[in-house]
Assembly symmetry: C2
Homo-oligomer: 196 residues x 2
């Protein structure tokens, strides 16, 4: 295609986004040009701002445009509770649930022998420092093999501090049907059964 | 979510793109921040350029960043052939096929009584002007009801010029299997059968 070098360049860049291919990138660019004032210009500006200013919070590892993130700055949140998550996306998921009003600590990944990720690659020493003054550390790592391994490692490395370390409950998802659940989840839910 | 106003704003804008929802917008933004130099900054710049400079070619209606688009400027292309398409996306599809080396004319839509699109809303008068000096006008409109209606209207309005008006052949798609084709297409292919 030899039409519009700059437009084709924009399509090529858009096609690199996860979830967009060449076809949906073309559709997106046409939609953007149609909504130039309402969408394209603000999006360009928002991207430039984030490109320039996005950084990880020096305290918790959350993604924000300030040295200390909005959650760490919020005076309403409970300093005694630290929720440990793998990635920023997990922190966002916890926030959407709206059930937690403490602070976060983003590890920045999980231990993985296969990918060569060791304890020194994660923000575990920083966590130990923060956990020393906490009332409870809640591990909200993914229920994958690497996530569970990491949870055990983190719990071990915090054991000397004497701070209670808990983890998210495993069981039947809300609205979940037994017939569609995997055996492992049903087994875990049975073992963790509670009095009604 | 009260974390990172600017990052949440970028996510909200990205989620307005066709093909992206809130979840994929979050994924895309995380991927963008991870590839800040390679993807986010160039994308912000490309969007700003296109937001500022994108325009429809004054001659053919193609989308470009110049007054006259690259296709209309190309001296290698045949001025005698004009391919009429509905939208810029259709022009791009024709160009990808690489089978046409003439000029284009983008109508900017199709006639539609339902949507209140009449002949004056499309670039039909401009087409008549250009067609007067052409050797052939090829209608490459979509094979939808509105597309076919528009094709007939365009052919009628060019009839007085005496320029041959053709349209894309209908038939079995390359690689298509009869068993999966609709009856209308099979009927059209049969009626348009050719000697082997």
């Amino acid at each position: 295609m030899d039409d519009g070098g700059e437009i084709q360049r924009l399509i090529a860049l858009m096609a690199k986004l996860p979830g967009l291919g060449p076809r949906s990138a073309r559709r997106a660019v046409l939609a953007l040009v149609r909504r130039r004032e309402a969408l394209l210009a603000p999006l360009a500006e928002a991207m430039a701002t984030v490109a320039e200013r996005a950084r990880l919070c020096a305290r918790c590892g959350n993604l924000d445009t300030t040295e200390i993130c909005a959650i760490c700055r919020d005076p309403e949140r409970d300093d005694g509770l630290i929720c440990v998550v793998e990635e920023v996306g997990d922190l966002w998921a916890m926030e959407r649930a709206g059930a937690f009003r403490g602070r976060y600590h983003v590890l920045g990944g999980v231990l993985s022998a296969l990918d060569g990720v060791g304890p020194d690659d994660l923000r575990i020493p920083a966590l130990a420092e923060r956990a020393a003054t906490a009332r409870e550390v809640i591990l909200a790592l993914n229920a994958t093999v690497d996530g569970v391994t990491t949870a055990h490692y983190v719990a071990d490395s915090l054991a000397a501090l004497g701070v209670p370390v808990t983890s998210l409950a495993q069981g039947v998802p809300v609205g979940g049907e037994l017939d569609y659940l995997d055996d492992g989840t049903i087994g875990a839910a049975l073992r963790a059964r509670r009095a009604l």
